[in-house]
């Protein structure tokens, strides 16, 4: 019994010693970490005329110069609408949404970005619509023009409509990172998973890469 009590005291002592050691080490780590974060260079001249260096600069997230801040964006001419944008974003609801370039749209009655390739009827019945989440709303303006609106809370950025539009049409539906939602992660999970290398950094004051009408001579 006496031996057991001594064994118990020794274990308690070891436990307390371990706690104290861990607390001390942790405190030192916190102090060092805070010191590292607080230590900021006062000069902005880091040779950052090349915006590719922005991510290596300690200032870039808090850079006072708008031009130096960058955000993630999808190059619509490289995007293959693989669907990774819907599932690789760290957010529960992906920050990538479909957008519609009105000026590029052909306003097809049988829009293959809105309807299934072989719809039973050209109406808004769910069985006829291409978008699995019903995120595209089509309003008739006047013959033959329609207005397409993307319901962003419903859009998951899967890109199915992008594929449909690009397969047969002008490609006026495409994916973009929405910066009212994106966290601008230093290392974007979607960018890492993008098979076509469509993700790149763009200036924060020009955050979107939009498609334009091809100007023919």
């Amino acid at each position: 019994m006496k031996n057991l009590s001594l064994h118990t005291q020794q274990n308690r002592r070891e436990f307390l010693r371990g706690i104290g050691l861990a607390t001390g080490l942790g405190g030192v780590a916190v102090v060092i970490g805070l010191a590292a974060v607080r230590k900021r260079p006062t000069s902005v001249n880091f040779g950052c005329s090349d915006q590719g260096l922005c991510s290596k600069c300690g200032l870039y997230k808090n850079c006072p110069l708008p031009l130096r801040q960058t955000v993630w964006q999808i190059d619509p001419y490289k995007c293959i609408a693989c669907g990774n944008c819907a599932t690789y974003c760290v957010l529960e609801e992906s920050a990538v949404k479909c957008v519609h370039a009105f000026a590029m749209c052909g306003y097809c009655e049988l829009c293959t970005g809105y309807f299934e390739a072989e719809p039973a009827a050209l109406n808004s019945g769910a069985e006829n619509l291409l978008c699995p989440t019903g995120a595209i709303i089509r309003n008739k303006i006047e013959d033959p023009y329609h207005e397409y609106i993307i319901d962003e809370p419903l859009c998951i950025g899967c890109g199915k409509c992008v594929k449909g539009c690009s397969a047969f049409g002008n490609g006026s539906l495409f994916l973009q990172v929405r910066h009212d939602r994106c966290l601008n992660c230093n290392e974007c999970s979607i960018a890492k998973s993008c098979p076509s290398g469509a993700f790149r950094r763009v200036p924060a004051n020009q955050p979107y890469l939009l498609k334009e009408i091809q100007q023919d001579e």
């Binding site: 619509p76 001419y77 693989c82 669907g83 990774n84 819907a86 599932t87 690789y88 749209c105 052909g106 306003y107 097809c108 009655e109 049988l110 829009c111 293959t112 390739a117 072989e118 291409l130 699995p132 033959p144 899967c158 199915k160 594929k163 449909g164 690009s166 397969a167 047969f168 049409g169 002008n170 490609g171 999970s189 890492k192 998973s193 993008c194 098979p195 091809q214 023919d216 001579e217």
Partner: protein, 351 residues
């Protein structure tokens, strides 16, 4: 004396936790994909697959490819065949018209001031070239004969058809067909939407709008947004149309097809579609006859087209038919001409 190792309850718990953590780490390493190579993980309802429609029943394929040749151009736009005894092949592209022999040998080149968009060969081998918004006429030696009036800033000429003294220019920009005389003076415009005359109006979502004149004296025009070919009198009266939207082989697929067509010597139509790249034969009433070439014969074309997402104005095939009935297909993605000839008897399928 052997030293006995006592494993207490606490130590056992620590060991279990460490082992579980290692197992979890190894599982995560092999299961979690941060590279995207394993795909999105989305269900089948999120996939867009047209592979089923890329297969064509071999019994429906009535033509075989006998030759192809490179145009040597950086960008191609249109193809035309000579008339009568002239069996040469004319290709418009860059800022030139290139004349090839029937077997694809380059014969000559006509330099143009502006990039061409369409062309046709008329009587006496006169070449009518449509630029973006005006027409220019050349003789067969390349001498410029005349330049016609501009058709407006929104004009985008995509096809020309000629019958004796009547010249028709399809304008995809204004969605109208200009009817001109042989000197370029405007006679009337055809195809403007007019419910009182039962004219539906052209729906032209992309710069593909083709016309031709059939032996019955009617002007035929594609209406891609309505998936049909329409017939008009020279006076502009809408007569009839045929065609319907569907992925089925006997119809026109996608949002806007056919993109181009040509007339065979027997009066049948050769149509070209984009998206699902298909070249098909229909009779004058619109009954499906057969296939010239299907998606499986345009795999390289579609691959390059999908890379050319920046220029959707030049992915559709153009087609012409020569006096021998050979079908000449201009592939503007690969910048080459492919020649097909008939190989067996037709099978008529009602639409």
């Amino acid at each position: 004396m052997q030293k006995r190792i006592h494993i207490t309850g606490k130590n056992f718990a620590i060991i279990i936790i460490v082992v579980l953590a290692i197992i979890a780490g190894i599982t995560a390493f092999f299961r979690i994909d941060t590279t995207g190579r394993k795909g999105s993980g989305l269900g089948p309802e999120f996939s867009y697959d047209l592979d089923t429609y890329r297969e064509i029943d071999p019994d429906l394929i009535l033509y075989e490819e006998i030759k192809k040749f490179s145009t040597g151009l950086r960008e191609t736009r249109a193809i035309a065949a000579g008339r009568g005894d002239n069996q040469n092949i004319y290709v418009a592209g860059d800022s030139v018209i290139v004349k090839f022999s029937p077997d694809g040998k380059k014969l000559s080149e006509i330099q143009l001031e502006n990039p061409p968009r369409c062309l046709t060969v008329g009587e006496n081998d006169t070449i009518y070239v449509g630029t973006k918004n005006y027409m220019v006429v050349y003789n067969n030696e390349g001498k410029r004969l005349s330049q016609w009036e501009h058709l407006g800033p929104n004009a985008y000429l995509t096809s020309i058809a000629i019958e004796k003294k009547h010249v028709f220019a399809a304008d995809a920009g204004n969605r109208i067909i200009h009817h001109l005389d042989i000197t370029g003076n405007l006679i009337n415009r055809i195809g403007a939407k007019d419910p009182s005359r039962n004219i539906p109006g052209f729906v032209i979502p992309s710069p593909y709008f083709d016309i031709a004149i059939t032996a019955d004296g009617l002007l035929r025009a594609t209406n891609p947004g309505k998936h049909r070919i329409e017939a008009y009198t020279f006076g502009g009266d809408f007569e009839f149309s045929w065609g319907r939207p569907s992925l089925a082989i006997e119809a026109f697929c996608g949002c806007c097809n056919p993109v181009n067509f040509a007339l065979l010597p027997d009066g049948n139509f050769v149509t070209c579609e984009k998206g699902l790249t298909r070249v098909k034969i229909f009779d004058a009433e619109g009954n499906f006859i057969g296939v010239v070439a299907g998606p499986q014969q345009f795999i390289e074309h579609e691959k390059v087209c999908n890379e050319k997402t920046a220029n959707r104005t030049a992915v559709g095939l153009d087609v012409a038919v020569d006096k021998q009935g050979r079908i000449l297909i201009l592939d503007s993605c690969l910048k080459e001409v492919r020649i097909f000839i008939r190989k067996k008897e037709p099978v008529t399928i009602q639409p």
